[in-house]
């Protein structure tokens, strides 16, 4: 190999390097671009359309100006509450199972199933909730909506709970057991609390994820033009309302869709940023 002739790296290697690094940088810019555009548009159009009506009035009949999404916002809150009642306990429970009793084949089956559930399209889960609740009850309902979204929460909460529990050092458990504290008490009063912030952030992230879900609600809560907060009636939800208005033929309703989108984005992005802030401050560090 005539090395003495090569005084520097050949131009084509340098060019390849430059082109590759350049493309990588460019790719990153192209990725950030939609984020800026989308958030920017929602903020711009949303703020412009925002008024108190959105939070205080229910939708007006088609064609009429004005009205708001108050019932949608309230409905979403209720649905999310029901979803949390279902999703959080089941999620934490299976997470505890996987961490403390699941280092075996049964645990692997559950883990695999949780991943499967995580990957099921939300519309399919909505259909299942339809078949299980709506058909049985004979009508659309807030309950069905909550069940659908609650199911979606379970895998996220479960996997993260397992993760953070496993991060708690074994010495902590041994110290507690050595003091004569029974296993169940150790898990409940010693291990779980030290993993508390991780579990909370996972709940918040799961929450942010389902808060924006529309498809499952189409077959369960179904939406409602009027106020409804009863468990057994169809309920309006913010994402559903945004969808209905977005595809509507009426200018005013489309304007309101942007306003509703603004509210939804603020809720969700706000949650994600708070979670990010908490974890970056190291509050996620398990037991010391």
């Amino acid at each position: 190999m005539p090395k003495k002739q090569l005084q520097t790296i050949p131009w084509w290697r340098r060019a390849k390097n430059f082109a590759a690094i350049g493309s990588i940088g460019l790719a990153t810019v192209i990725v950030i671009l939609p984020l800026v555009l989308i958030l920017g548009t929602v903020l711009y159009k949303g703020i412009g359309s925002l008024d108190w009506n959105l939070f205080t009035q229910i939708p007006k009949p088609a064609g009429e100006l004005g009205g708001g999404m108050a019932n949608g916002i309230a409905g979403s809150v209720m649905i999310l509450m029901i979803a949390s009642i279902i999703g959080i306990p089941l999620g934490i429970g299976s997470g505890v199972f996987l961490a403390e009793y699941g280092r075996n084949i049964y645990g692997n089956i559950v883990r695999f199933t949780a991943d499967v559930l995580n990957g099921v399209p939300s519309i399919v889960i909505g259909l299942t909730a339809y078949a299980l609740v709506v058909v049985v009850q004979g009508h659309f309902s807030l309950l069905a909506g909550g069940i659908a979204l609650g199911i979606m929460m379970i895998p996220t909460v479960s996997r993260t709970t397992e993760e953070v529990l496993l991060m708690v050092p074994q010495t902590i458990r041994e110290a507690a057991l050595g003091l004569g504290i029974p296993h169940w008490r150790t898990t409940l009063s010693v291990v779980l609390p030290s993993a508390r912030s991780g579990i909370i952030t996972s709940i918040m992230l799961a929450f942010a994820r389902i808060a924006g879900e529309t498809a499952p609600l189409m077959f369960t809560a179904f939406g409602n033009q009027f106020w409804s907060t009863k468990l057994n009636q169809p309920t309006a939800a913010l994402p559903l309302q945004i969808f209905t208005y977005a595809v509507s033929g009426f200018e005013d309703q489309r304007r309101q869709a942007w306003a509703g989108a603004f509210v939804l984005i603020v809720m969700i992005v706000g949650t994600v940023l708070i979670v990010r802030f908490i974890t970056s401050r190291g509050a996620l560090k398990g037991a010391n």
Binding site: N17, I21, A27, T41, G93, S94, V124, L188, G212, I242
Partner: protein, 353 residues
């Protein structure tokens, strides 16, 4: 002597109690332990039950349709609610085409971003960039759809599609150039992709919006597998005199390739299951067309759109499509999970800066 000969009262009881049975929890702890264990096991079983129910319901509710149409369901293109005659082919086609188009766009971009954030990025930018990617993942589907209808689609209709048609369409400059060389039109396969009326919405719009939506998931998992490549591998390449890019391609990307493939497949799964944004942008016409400008249909859109009017066989057909979607995403996700696991060895995935 006396103390030794005094056997502990728990000598007759199971040995567990001998260890745990002192102190105030006494022998109840055994029961409590079992109760606690049963409780959490019940939660895990509930998870299994839910998935079981999903499969059960999908299969039973689609039985009507399965019986009536059989295998031809997947090969027919007809969609006639009045005559109760359904074929899923256009929807399957639409789901696959839109998802793969999304992959085509998203993969180079997300790989580039993942590489940039992990390897090339100045420390100060790292946090902002990874938060931005997370943010993209957090935006709900319906808002993507909203933006798509009012910003992306007009942009495509007014600027991008005319440009594409002008150069690559059936009468485009590039196409004409090759025709001028004597090559028959049927070999110029790209021209069919950019033909037809330009509505803005359609397969192209759906593909682009899906691409944006799956970018974060591919990027964050790619980040994880890249970080899992040990430092010594990078050093080995550098010590041989590799440039930055050569080091990345030889030592990093190559080592992580199974995981990256897994990330891509995971993105595919996500794209296939996406509903709202696609429904709002694909045009909702159950037809198969060559052109990317044309409207189409996907499995999830057809369910979302037509569900409210459906009953009987109609409903059953829709649920059968949900079953198809479920099976597709199941296979894709299982495959991806295997690939990613083989790289990160089961360390759970969570992307942070």
């Amino acid at each position: 002597m006396g103390a030794l000969s005094q056997a502990p009262s728990s000598q007759d009881a199971p040995s567990k109690l001998a260890v745990v049975g002192q102190g105030k929890y006494g022998s109840e702890s055994l029961f409590a332990d079992a109760a606690f264990r049963s409780l959490v096991t019940a939660c895990a079983i509930a998870l299994l039950t839910v998935v079981g129910l999903i499969v059960f319901e999908l299969v039973t509710q689609s039985r009507l349709s399965l019986q009536k149409f059989g295998f031809s369901f997947f090969t027919k293109s007809i969609w006639d609610p009045v005559q109760e005659n359904f074929g899923a082919l256009p929807s399957i086609y639409g789901t696959l085409v839109s998802s793969f188009l999304a992959l085509l766009i998203a993969v180079p971009l997300s790989l580039g971003t993942a590489l940039f954030i992990t390897e090339l990025c100045p420390k100060s930018l790292k946090g902002i960039l990874s938060v931005s990617v997370e943010m993209l993942a957090a935006i709900p589907s319906v808002i993507y759809g909203l933006w798509g209808i009012f910003v992306l689609a007009p942009f495509l209709r007014l600027h991008v599609q005319p440009l594409l048609a002008r150069y690559l369409g059936p009468e485009g400059h590039v196409t004409n150039f090759f025709i001028g060389l004597g090559i028959p039109a049927k070999y110029l396969i790209w021209s069919g992709l950019f033909a037809g009326p330009r509505y803005g919405i359609g397969m192209l719009a759906a593909g682009i919006i899906l691409a944006i939506m799956i970018l974060p998931i591919i990027a964050s998992i790619t980040r994880e597998v890249i970080l899992a490549v040990p430092r010594q591998q990078r050093e080995a390449a550098l010590a041989l005199g590799a440039t930055r890019w050569e080091m990345l391609s030889m030592a990093v990307l190559r080592n992580a390739r199974a995981g990256i493939l897994g990330a891509i497949i995971l993105g595919l799964g996500r794209a296939m299951g996406e509903t709202m944004a696609v429904t709002m942008l694909i045009g909702n016409r159950p037809e198969i067309s060559r052109s990317l400008f044309a409207p189409g249909y996907t499995l999830s859109s057809v369910i979302a759109n037509e569900f409210s009017e459906a009953n009987g066989t109609y409903l059953s057909a829709l649920i059968e499509m949900a079953l198809v979607l479920f099976v597709l995403t199941l296979i894709v996700n299982a495959l991806a999970g295997l690939l990613v696991w083989s790289i990160t060895r089961g360390t759970p995935s969570r992307a942070h800066a």
